[in-house]
């Protein structure tokens, strides 16, 4: 038996069985899907939408190209390059040129600075932030109003960019530095005059995501709460005052559109006003002879589509009982001046009354409220302010805002730069106080008297931690209406909060009017691979081939020739 084993035939059998086992193992391994993501970065896609049939935004989602960074040689073909642009050093004219000349790009990756996500420490940065803010809003307006036939993504820069940019070897870079390391490396490659795709290999950026699909019948949800006044003395119908704020946002990157100021600040102010008045109205002694209607409306960026549908759902009696409506829009980052936007001439009795009560309280608070009159044009579909929807159904309404001019369509709707750090909590406090005091004076007939109902340190004071916590929550939650489902957590949270303070809270689900169509896949994961070029592998093959040939010749010479010579000598 042992003899058979050591025989040549036995060896062959063993070899054969080993081969078959090997083949089996190889087949098994080949079946395992490779999860070889080198570095994964969260990226946020530029919005993709159709506006009355015309395509806008980034039209593609899948990405699989080499990375490249500016500056490029003029006339360079970038149709197979993902251009990485840090917004911090963005050259808008360069981008504009590319977009207007319709040059094809493999893709565009915009790096947002961390500053806009975290509160920056130190005062010297505030000017920087201001500059950044204007760049970002310009960039946003540029990107959402053009049709880009390639994928466009946003990602956050990492903290240690400076360390990385200073010749820091990529090999030892920290994992979360990867994107900056990539950028630095790509730049170094470009600076040495070689394009990334030639011999140096470079980086490949891959986003594998399905083709974006049209969001099916996007809904908008309005939330309404009701605080009934005290009915008595034979009056059956009390007048109503409505406080309204639009809560949804729109921005270049839907997954980043948190809209802290527009209109998170308005929502926070509305919730706090509802809380204050619910305390006043909880006792019959202090319940006013006005009904209060609170409305959190959706569809704000789309000509206040939700507000229109909400108003249409009112019955005639309710609509007529509304004495006036106050719409809150962007009240979180002003210094000294707020604007009261109206669509009836300021000489109008009701408008005058509202304006006077506001400016009176404003004087006591040491701020000023200006009035701006803008006529509405019924034939123009553009609705710049929320109160204009009220005016269209002949309800007196005003918008309180820090913005002095009416925004264009999809402007100032809570985009990229509109994050938590630009909102000033004290500004929101003052706005809340201003609105609440003027309302209370109107409701209880204290006009012209200097009485502070919601004085600080009283039991009815504005609660800073309540304001802060809601502001923080809203600043974490992107709220682009088409991507919010009917029972999205944020909608449920708002509904629950309003129902804690008011009665008869209900949701109204509507669909956005047909002008807009949205596409999904707003978020994705970007995989960054460091790749070697084909040339490198060819060279490697060449080197290996010559190494093996050399080894072969060396072994032949040393073992056969030399040994034979030795044995011949010995023989």
């Amino acid at each position: 038996m042992a003899g058979r084993w050591s025989g040549g035939g036995g060896g062959g059998e063993v070899v054969g069985s080993i081969y078959s086992v090997l083949a089996l193992v190889l087949i098994l391994v080949a079946c395992v899907e490779l999860g070889d993501a080198a570095t994964a970065v969260d990226v946020y896609r530029l919005i993709q939408y159709d506006l009355s049939g015309a395509p806008y935004g980034s039209r593609l989602a899948g990405l699989n190209h080499h990375a490249g960074a500016a500056p490029f040689a003029p006339g360079a073909d970038l149709s197979r390059t993902v251009v990485i642009l840090p917004v911090r050093e963005l050259n808008l004219t360069f981008l504009q040129e590319y977009i207007t000349s319709k040059q094809p790009l493999g893709g565009l990756l915009l790096l947002l600075p961390q500053d806009i996500r975290h509160k920056s420490a130190g005062g010297n940065k505030s000017r920087n932030v201001g500059l950044l803010r204007s760049i970002l809003s310009e960039l946003e307006q540029l990107l959402i109003h053009v049709n880009l036939p390639y994928p466009v993504y946003f990602a956050y820069e990492d903290d240690k960019i400076n360390a990385v940019l200073a010749d820091y070897p990529v090999y030892f870079a920290y994992e979360d530095d990867k994107i900056n390391a990539v950028l630095a490396d790509v730049r170094r490659g470009d600076a040495s005059g070689q394009p990334a795709t030639a011999t140096t290999g470079g980086y490949k950026l891959v986003v594998s995501t399905p083709e974006p699909r049209k969001a099916s019948s996007p809904t908008i949800t309005n939330i309404q709460g009701w605080l009934p006044g005290l009915v008595g003395d034979g009056t059956t119908q009390l007048p109503t005052i409505a406080v309204v704020a639009s809560y949804d946002t729109f921005g270049a990157a839907p997954a980043l559109s948190v809209g802290s100021d527009s209109n998170g600040s308005g929502v926070v102010a509305l919730l706090e006003i509802a809380r204050l008045f619910s305390r006043l109205y909880s006792s019959p002694k202090t319940r006013g002879r006005y009904n209060l209607l609170f409305g959190l409306t959706s569809g704000g960026p789309y000509n206040y589509n939700g507000t229109m549908k909400w108003l249409r759902s009112f019955d005639q009696r309710l609509r007529e009982s509304i004495e006036y409506a106050i719409c809150l829009n962007s009240v979180g980052s002003w210094n000294n001046e707020l604007w009261l936007h109206v669509s009836k001439p300021p000489e109008n009795v009701y408008i005058k009354q509202v304006y006077e009560s506001f400016s009176e309280v404003a004087k006591e608070l040491g701020v000023s409220v200006g009035i701006k009159h803008k006529k509405i044009n019924i034939s123009n579909p553009r609705v710049a302010w929320e109160h204009e929807q009220f005016s269209r159904v002949r309800v007196t309404a005003v918008t309180l805002s820090e913005l002095s001019v009416a925004p264009e369509l999809l402007q100032s709707t809570g985009g990229l730069y509109d994050t938590r750090h630009i909102v000033d909590e004290t500004a929101i406090h003052r706005s809340i106080k201003l609105v609440a005091e003027s309302l209370v004076r109107h409701i209880y007939g204290y006009e012209g008297k200097n009485i502070q109902i919601f004085a600080d340190n009283s039991s009815l004071a504005v609660n800073p931690s309540y304001v802060k916590s809601w502001l923080d929550l809203l600043s974490r939650t992107p709220r682009v209406a088409p991507f919010l489902s009917k029972n999205d957590p944020i909608i449920s949270a708002l509904k629950k909060e309003l129902s804690d303070h008011t009665d008869e809270v209900h949701l109204q689900h509507e669909s956005i009017d047909g002008m807009f169509n949205f596409y999904d896949s707003t978020q994705a994961t970007l995989n960054i691979y460091q790749v070697a070029s084909v040339t490198f592998d060819l060279l490697l093959l060449l080197a290996l081939g010559s190494y093996l040939i050399l080894l072969f010749s060396f072994l032949v010479i040393t073992t056969r020739v030399v040994l034979r010579m030795i044995s011949r000598d010995d023989g």
Binding site: G11, A532, L544, L548, L551, T559
Partner: protein, 228 residues
């Protein structure tokens, strides 16, 4: 392209074994059976080693270097020597010269080691999009390992098969074999305790294996001369 890279790395890892077999007289004397048997012995040895490692070693919580554990690991590493001893002395070989026997055993040993330790990572890793130097280093490591194993087998055959060798050389032979057997522990020490980076470690392995091979060759030829 990535499959291309995989082939490159595979050539670097397994090519030298094939070249060694075909270039040396091993192919003339058809010693593949010996190599295969050595590979089977390697498999068994590795199994025993694994069982020992699993029995005596704690699972390290972090990647730090624990001298006691490493010592234990080095001791367990000597099981390799036992396996090699078995392959060289106990297995029935067709009557090939000692000269060829140790080469065939060393080759089979190194090849089995490469297949077992390097083929799977190579297949999984080198076909990915991501390029790293890791697999090229691994291939170079395989080369160093081949040289190392051949030297160890040569010294083993000197120790166990050759009867009449110069007395003065015996301690040197044993010392060299000891160094060769602890080589894996040494590189592990360099990598983990001193934190050497892969290029440095691979360069060290290559250099040390070449030096050891040279010493072993000198010893081998020194032992050969008086016997003839």
């Amino acid at each position: 392209m990535t499959v291309f890279h995989f082939f490159n790395c595979a050539i670097l890892t397994f090519g030298p074994h094939a070249v060694y077999y075909s270039a040396t007289p091993l192919s003339e004397y058809d010693t593949i059976g010996t190599s295969v048997k050595a590979a089977v012995v390697y498999l068994g040895t590795t199994l025993v080693k694994l069982i020992c490692l699993a029995t005596f070693l704690k699972v390290p919580e972090n990647d730090s270097f624990d001298p006691y554990q490493e010592l234990l690991k080095a001791l367990i590493g000597f099981i390799d020597v036992a396996g090699l001893y078995f392959a060289l002395t106990q297995l029935m070989h067709r009557n090939i010269s000692q000269n060829h026997k140790f080469q065939a055993v060393g080759l089979g040993w190194a090849f089995a080691d490469s297949v077992l330790h390097r083929l799977a990572p190579l297949w999984v890793g080198a076909r990915g999009l991501e390029f790293t130097w890791e697999y090229i280093f691994q291939g170079i490591e395989a080369n160093a390992n081949l040289v190392l194993n051949l030297s160890l087998a040569a010294l083993g055959s000197l120790m166990w098969l050759r009867k009449n060798k110069p007395r003065t050389l015996i301690p040197i032979i044993y010392a060299c074999a000891g160094v060769l057997a602890t080589m894996p522990s040494i590189t592990s020490y360099l990598r983990r305790a001193l934190g050497w980076h892969p290029p440095k470690v691979v360069a060290f392995e290559l250099a040390s294996s070449l030096v050891m091979a040279f010493i072993s060759w000198q010893l081998f030829s020194a032992c050969q001369r008086p016997s003839i």
